[in-house]
Symmetry: C2
Subunit: 186 residues, 2 copies
Amino acid sequence: MKAGALELGQASIGSAPRRGVNKGVSILDFILRLVALIGTLGSAIAMGTTDETLPFFTQFIRFKAQYDDLPTFTFFVIANAIVSAYLVLSLPLSIFHIVRSGARNSRMILIFFDTAMLALLTAGASAASAIVYLAHKGNARANWLAICQQFNSFCERISGSLIGSFGGIVVFILLILLSALAISRR
Amino acid sequence: MKAGALELGQASIGSAPRRGVNKGVSILDFILRLVALIGTLGSAIAMGTTDETLPFFTQFIRFKAQYDDLPTFTFFVIANAIVSAYLVLSLPLSIFHIVRSGARNSRMILIFFDTAMLALLTAGASAASAIVYLAHKGNARANWLAICQQFNSFCERISGSLIGSFGGIVVFILLILLSALAISRR
């Protein structure tokens, strides 16, 4: 609370229009966090509930595909879940920034964690994309066959669940920029 | 130049110790960029020169593995090359920041591009990691066999070339933090 009071004191030195801009930036920050949360949570749920059982089976084998057959997709779900949890936890701080638009130290903390989460989300999304690409196209040189010919709806689902993550990456880049802008305008 | 003069004018309002800290931050920024450059350039070269021809061959087939047999590795090389080129181009700006440690707008530009390059580098490195993992372990459910049993030195090379990229990711996170710190201390 002491730090908050100090920050408020510093902010009052700045001119009124600047504080208005910072308030606008903080509100945009809050909205973007909600958008990113919808994207990453949607991705985690869409991928995490993916499984397909083929309508034909032999005496011994039942053809079934689940997201956790491929460890990369498990990582994708975990990464998206962690980023979603972080976004929920960062919302109160974002509201705090709307109220005290001159805050500096808490914005630095947000920049650090936003950057780390951007890296985590990008890692999960692009690793999953590499495997989805392989599932669609296969690779003749390595003798890996495309599995999408058999598991059609499974492939559509895993491809679609990437969208939310990539949307989240774009939003995180914007969030880092906005925080830097707010700090520089203080 | 006008903006530079303006920034210098603003900086002179700040106290001397603060400017000293910012100079230190700028020098550290320059050194970290060199470290990241070595990492990403090394990764691009190590991956881009990877090929292995097995010592045995039949009448029709010669067993050969090259990095561009897998499109993901081509992306990895391109991503690392782009990031290396960006790092070289950002060095003059980094030197400018050592001289004029109060600069603000140019630091904002650096934060934006650093964040974009962090995302690009992470995407390349983690997509390549997903494929390297598959090459080592294979996947029984998708019937993808591990190719590392045949192409041993190929696999060692592609695994090793990831290291520089992941080092670069860590350095980029530090660079973004340092720039934010320099802006907030202005």
